[in-house]
């Protein structure tokens, strides 16, 4: 029996496709998320909107919080570690979490190096803003990618920008001739082998979700139609007035993302969504997406 193989790690991400991964900070949240049909939960001490408001250094959650959530739900439990903080990742692996998110939402521990994720049996998901960043993370061993968006804003604009950037670059590489790919790999700062694979298959070698700013069922379906294979919802659910109803609606809109009648139906009477933030009003140094490279 071979554990922690690439097939098994990237395979779990494939099982999550078409689903919604919800940020939860308590056992009660986790129960609501599972009941609403989340395909996994992200166990946190604070949702990104609160991390943003609190400032200071954001670290891995208290293992007691993570374990309590793992014991409560039967769906996969993810948890975040800081970029480059491989010991936080070791701790999360030791706790038995199902997926580690090396996340820009937490304060980076290393401004030069991400974690060498091939060393772990637990799979990792990493954020990206463009194809080059996605392929660098995959080369380091990420078994799943998510576009970063701008977490904790309830504003979809950055998620759209990042998903469009990734998909546009994939289409561009697909249409190139082989002799153009080395220069493109250099320009992207991505390994040639992965650029060759994208050229051949017309897609990323791992599953790609959208994250950072999803607040409504229509936001989720928008990201799916743009090419996401599933969505992460952070603050968008538990910062809304009726988390239960909104969570169910976002799950349904993600499955039926090409069916406007269903999206319309599930969007009715959701109550007040999370208060959004105009990205332009956020000081440059407080943006999360530029963290990592």
């Amino acid at each position: 029996m071979d554990r922690g193989t690439w097939t098994v790690k990237s395979g779990l991400a494939q099982m999550l496709k078409g689903g919604v991964i919800m940020d939860v900070v308590t056992v009660e949240h986790a129960k609501i998320a599972e009941e609403a049909g989340a395909c996994a939960v992200m166990a946190l001490e604070r949702v990104p909107a609160d991390i943003r408001a609190a400032g200071g250094v954001a670290r891995m959650a208290d293992p007691a919080v993570i374990v309590a959530i793992m014991e409560e739900v039967s769906i996969p439990v993810m948890a975040k570690c800081r970029i480059g903080h491989f010991v936080e990742a070791q701790v999360l692996e030791a706790l038995g979490v199902d997926f580690v998110d090396e996340s820009e939402v937490l304060t980076p521990a290393d401004e030069s190096h991400h974690i060498w994720k091939h060393d772990f049996k637990v799979p990792f998901v990493c954020g990206c803003r463009d194809l080059g960043e996605a392929l660098r993370r995959i080369a380091e061993g990420a078994a799943m990618i998510r576009t970063k968006g701008e977490a904790g804003t309830g504003n979809i604009v950055e998620a759209v920008r990042h998903m469009r950037a990734v998909m546009d670059e994939i289409r561009k590489i697909q249409s190139m001739t082989t002799d153009e790919l080395m220069a493109e790999a250099k320009a992207l700062g991505a390994p040639l082998e992965l650029v060759l694979e994208v050229h051949k298959t017309g897609g990323l070698p791992v599953v790609n979700f959208a994250a950072g700013g999803v607040a409504t069922p229509a936001d989720a379906a928008l990201m799916m139609q743009l090419g996401a294979e599933g969505v992460f919802v952070g603050s968008g659910i538990f910062k809304a007035s009726d988390p239960e109803v909104r969570a169910r609606a976002i799950v349904k809109a993600t499955t039926h993302y090409r069916d406007p009648e269903i999206i319309a139906e599930v969007s009715k009477g959701l109550g007040v969504g999370m208060p959004g933030v105009d990205i332009k009003t956020i000081p440059q140094e407080e943006l999360l997406a530029p963290r990592g490279w």
């Binding site: 554990r3 922690g4 395979g11 494939q14 496709k17 049909g37 395909c39 769906i75």
Partner: protein, 200 residues
């Protein structure tokens, strides 16, 4: 395979959530029409149905919300060919330990969910499966279930070395605890299609 005069078989793959596109891609290599099924009306005119891998609780809830549970139960009762992989096996079972909803109860098997532990315990291993012959099949087990008990009408198609049942057939239904759709090996899908075509 297509033969002169007969139309290609139509296989629906439940697409509430999970790795349905991997099943569709593999089935299309075997010369059948395969497409996603999200609503009950899309079950019409099918020759076979696949319930893919994914989160069984998510899939089960969405099947219920969009009125697929009873029609799929009805198909199973009529002897309709159904293949379930991992979450699909869980949903086909009569009883499931560790699931917060009622499964379809289509097959006389009792299944334990997340039976091997968490993701760090997920594994791949070679399986001897007599109905497809040699060489062994690469079984990919991801937070996988296994069969705790099977009724007399159920044929166990494969076991792990410790004796746990991980593949079963009952009538025209096949349940697998692992993911043939994550391999490049089409033999188990071809086996299912032989059932769809009426052979054994």
């Amino acid at each position: 395979m297509l033969t002169g005069g007969t139309r290609a078989k139509k296989i629906g793959v439940l697409a509430q959530q999970g790795d349905f596109s991997e099943h569709i891609a593999l089935l299309r290599r075997l010369d059948v029409e395969a497409f996603p099924v999200r609503l009950a009306k899309e079950l019409e005119g099918l020759d076979g149905l696949v319930i893919p891998g994914g989160e069984s609780s998510t899939m089960g809830k969405l099947m219920k919300e969009y009125d697929l549970t009873e029609p799929v139960r009805g198909l199973a009762k009529e002897g309709f060919p159904i293949l379930g992989t991992c979450a699909g096996m869980i949903l086909l079972a009569k009883r499931v330990s560790g699931l917060n909803l009622e499964p379809l109860g289509a097959m006389d098997i009792e299944v334990r969910r997340n039976a091997f532990g968490r993701q760090v315990d997920s594994f791949e291993t070679d399986l001897e499966i007599p109905v497809i012959g040699e060489p062994p099949f690469r079984g990919v087990f991801i937070r996988a279930p296994f069969i705790e008990r099977a009724g007399d009408a159920v044929e166990i198609l494969a076991r792990l070395p410790n004796g746990m049942g991980v593949a079963a057939r009952q009538g025209n239904m096949v349940a697998l605890a692992f993911h043939p759709e994550l391999t490049n090996d089409p033999r188990l899908h071809a086996y299912f299609l032989s059932i769809v075509h009426g052979g054994r």
